[in-house]
Symmetry: C2
Subunit: 520 residues, 2 copies
């Protein structure tokens, strides 16, 4: 059997040359179509699902056998998705979906041009059940809970898909494929699979490597026969979003060894190249996402994303997203702030406030030191935005955990961090973070700044790649199988590394020569 090159798309359309029925050729309508498709593509096998069998004769006869056929390839055989009348507008579309715990992003792709038609994002409607994954898992146990969680997501997706289709003047039936990446729990909730065992020892998901689904099976309001690709996972704590990240980074195409870091509730770290991949995940703490800190919040209008402190005057230069009055600080802003506080000598190596350097910016609330970051007049709420000593302590633990995870995995594979040629940072966190500040506080290794590459939403990018390319679709399963998962063992050695990393930048200053230069 001649299989199309893997560089080609796995979802595509052709215009088969169908001979008209006659007494001399009484081949059945469905077989007639399949025969023409096989001939057009020079392949031996095209399968077709039951609902299509019913509808095909009507379509063929309505359009005098002048039709386009949409097909997808899977496991070396082709499957018919639908037939459309031959006409002027023959575009077909696909959706790439980032199934985020907090935010869902939908990208509409024109499959013929492989270009983005439109994009939209919205808060995950499951937030009304619970902001975090664990609350949702617990809710799923309740009578009807799982169905409700799935339904919230699917209904909202359908609404947004409908909006996207309408504003681009296309029918939802012309959306003939969907590719979705998310963490393991989100993937389960999307599919309506019971997530109960995901958070219980020994942490067993329902499925690691889902096969392609039909959109109708999931209740998605696109073409009912459209294939739905759901990214595989390595386990309960290493999901399809990270497989998508690895794919999007391109690290598995390179000879050089790269790091990929994705920071969320957990910090997920991958190291490897074209030959091998090792991954681990650890609680680096939501402090890095701005989730724990008093004034912390997710990136959005008015959120502080950049801070510069004049080392002489101790004046704060503060940038907010969209230049709105300040409402809080995101993870990257927090890293900037703490890095700058250290370089200005306002906190010491342990992250403790230097009272005399902070002067009247330091206030005491209920016996706890707070630094005023934004005065009442500069804040949106009319109240000063402050950073408490415990906030800094939380960040210190998070950054120490991150650095310790990086050290541990690099020790395990016996590749010194200085030999890393690319350090990819995924997600919104990666989009805003200033690597110099992150190095200053000793969160990431002191590598040349050009080593750090911010990738943005790699979950969406990976989903997009796998939607368009047969090779990328195959790659995600190859990547999954290639990953060696390193179970982080919180033993004495780990604790020693962690303790050493709880300084700015580190107990061993020689690891961070550039910080030494900046702080001197």
């Amino acid at each position: 059997m001649k299989i199309p090159s893997k560089d080609k798309p796995w979802i595509r359309t052709i215009t088969p040359e169908i001979t008209l029925p006659s007494l001399k050729d009484n081949t059945a309508d469905v077989d007639r179509l399949i025969k023409a498709v096989k001939k057009g593509l020079q392949i031996e096998e095209v399968s077709i699902d039951f609902p299509l069998i019913k509808s095909i004769p009507g379509v063929l006869r309505k359009y005098d056998y002048h039709v386009h056929a949409a097909l997808f390839e899977n496991k070396n055989s082709l499957h018919l998705i639908d037939v459309f009348p031959s006409g002027n507008n023959n575009s077909t579309y696909g959706l790439a979906v980032d199934l985020g715990t907090s935010t869902v992003v939908l990208r509409l792709m024109d499959l013929s041009t492989q270009e983005t038609t439109d994009e939209t994002s919205f808060h995950n409607p499951q937030i009304e059940i619970g902001e975090d994954i664990l609350t949702r898992i617990h809710f799923a146990i309740r009578e009807g809970g799982l169905l409700r969680l799935q339904d919230l997501l699917i209904q909202r997706l359908n609404k947004e898909i409908d909006k996207l289709a309408k504003r681009n003047g296309i029918g939802v039936n012309s959306i003939i494929g969907l590719s979705a990446a998310g963490n393991t729990t989100m993937t389960h909730l999307f599919l309506g699979l019971d997530p109960y065992w995901i958070c219980r020892e020994p942490y067993i998901p329902v499925i690691n490597k889902p096969e392609l689904f039909k959109s109708a099976e999931l209740g998605l309001a696109i073409n009912p026969q459209a294939p739905v690709l759901v990214f595989p996972n390595v386990g309960s704590y290493f999901g399809g979003d990270l497989i998508a990240g690895i794919l999007a980074s391109g690290m598995t195409k390179q000879n050089e060894v790269s790091f990929l870091v994705d920071v969320g509730t957990n910090a997920e770290v991958v190291i490897g190249n074209r030959d091998w991949l090792m991954a681990c995940a650890g609680a680096a703490g939501p402090a890095l996402e701005g989730g724990v800190v008093g004034m912390g919040m997710m990136a959005g209008p008015g959120v502080i994303d950049k801070v510069v402190i004049d080392p002489e005057t101790h004046d704060f230069e503060i940038r907010t997203i969209g230049d709105h009055p300040a409402v809080g600080i995101c993870g990257s802003g927090l890293i900037d702030l703490v890095g700058q506080l250290f370089l200005a000598g306002m906190i010491d190596q342990r992250g403790k406030y230097f009272k005399k350097r902070c002067r009247d910016r330091l206030i005491n609330i209920d016996g706890v030191n707070h630094l005023i970051v934004v005065l009442a007049e500069g804040s949106a709420a009319g109240q000063p935005l402050t950073l408490s000593q415990p906030d800094i302590d939380a960040l210190m633990r998070s950054k120490a955990a991150m650095y310790t995870i990086l050290t541990t995995i690099s020790n395990t594979v016996n590749i010194p961090m200085k030999d890393i040629t690319r350090f990819y940072v995924a997600g919104t966190f990666g989009l805003y973070i200033d690597p110099e500040s992150a190095i200053t506080i000793g969160m990431i290794p002191d590598l040349p700044l050009e080593t750090y590459v911010s990738l943005g939403n790699t979950s969406l990018e990976g989903a997009n790649m796998a939607l368009l390319s047969a090779r990328a679709k195959d790659d995600i399963f190859r990547i999954r199988d290639q990953i060696t998962y390193l179970e982080l063992n919180v033993n004495q050695e780990f604790m020693n590394l962690f303790s050493a990393a709880k300084f700015i930048p580190h107990t061993d200053g020689s690891l961070f020569p550039s910080v030494k230069v900046r702080s001197s």
Copy 2:
């Protein structure tokens, strides 16, 4: 990929050795099961459908991972049907179905022993819409008509399946496969496919080669993931029942050339061997089935199936099914009767009554000659059963058509009829027919009687074979593709042959030497 030998069943169960989940092996439940099945069967690919993914973790955990897995093979890959707890009664079952226009037959097979567990038959409930296929096709055009026809059949099947299951003490969920053979229209109505074009030029079915369906897709109340094999057809007038017949006859396994004849509303004829197959169908007339003749009826209690006339005394010796008082005559009885009338000299070569030989058995009703076959006192209705001259004329046309079709196809492939080593007769007709009588009237060629083999319900037998064997399942598609369909051209040559065959046994008496011996 190592594919199991084709001699094996394509539906089977295995008991996979599943390792228990642990922190060291956090493989997902579904992947864990699939892995164990692959290992047990030494295969590389096992696919699983969406509804099963949802239910598997629950079953695995409920039975501590001690389960049987039922699978089916298709196109060189294996698909999971279901998992069952490991226990005492591990039998799984399959159903072979003959989807007859008049009668539906269900056979319940134990898949482990390959033995028949039970069998049942019932009148096709679509008879309430119309006795014949054409009436049903016309009804299907009406609003909701097609759905009603399908629903009548499926609901009745489900009722009968439930009865079969209950009286054999098994659960319908343990029925994990179904194989159904029927003519092209019945197949369409079973699948809910529009039969509109089947009876309209150029006679195009919706589908020739259906793929396997899932029982749930058809609304069948057996295991929802059970594969449903529907026999392929060659065209509107050569259906899956005949493919089943060819399979059941075994003619495609032999070097010698055989004939296969199935008589219904049409006479279907197949000639061939392991290397080639040619088929044709023609209107041999329902007279052969007993459908047109005044006293004709389908075989049943009290129906005359055997007639012997003493050539000297002209006494009639009449046998009825079950030795009940006579109610009518079936096709085979009619052939016996006419053959015996000829041998007793009561009708001439053209099938016309010899008044002086028939004597007081011949009566005139409304100017038409009738022969009293059963006197009033011997008949169930208390009225004489008679055979009119037009009844005989109808049979003469039917038998002549049959012989002409046989001659035409044998001429086409250039194999003299005397070289035919096996002549298979399928169906109820074949079960009761006396080849000697059929030869006497010149309906079938004058071959040694041992050449004729009655096969019974080959539609059911073929369905049964394809249910049990992977090789037989493949064979039906190979057979279908191998058949050359001969469109009967009613030209001058055909009409000449037909006219010559409208004598008893034939204008050319030398073709029937045995009849010459018997009638002299």
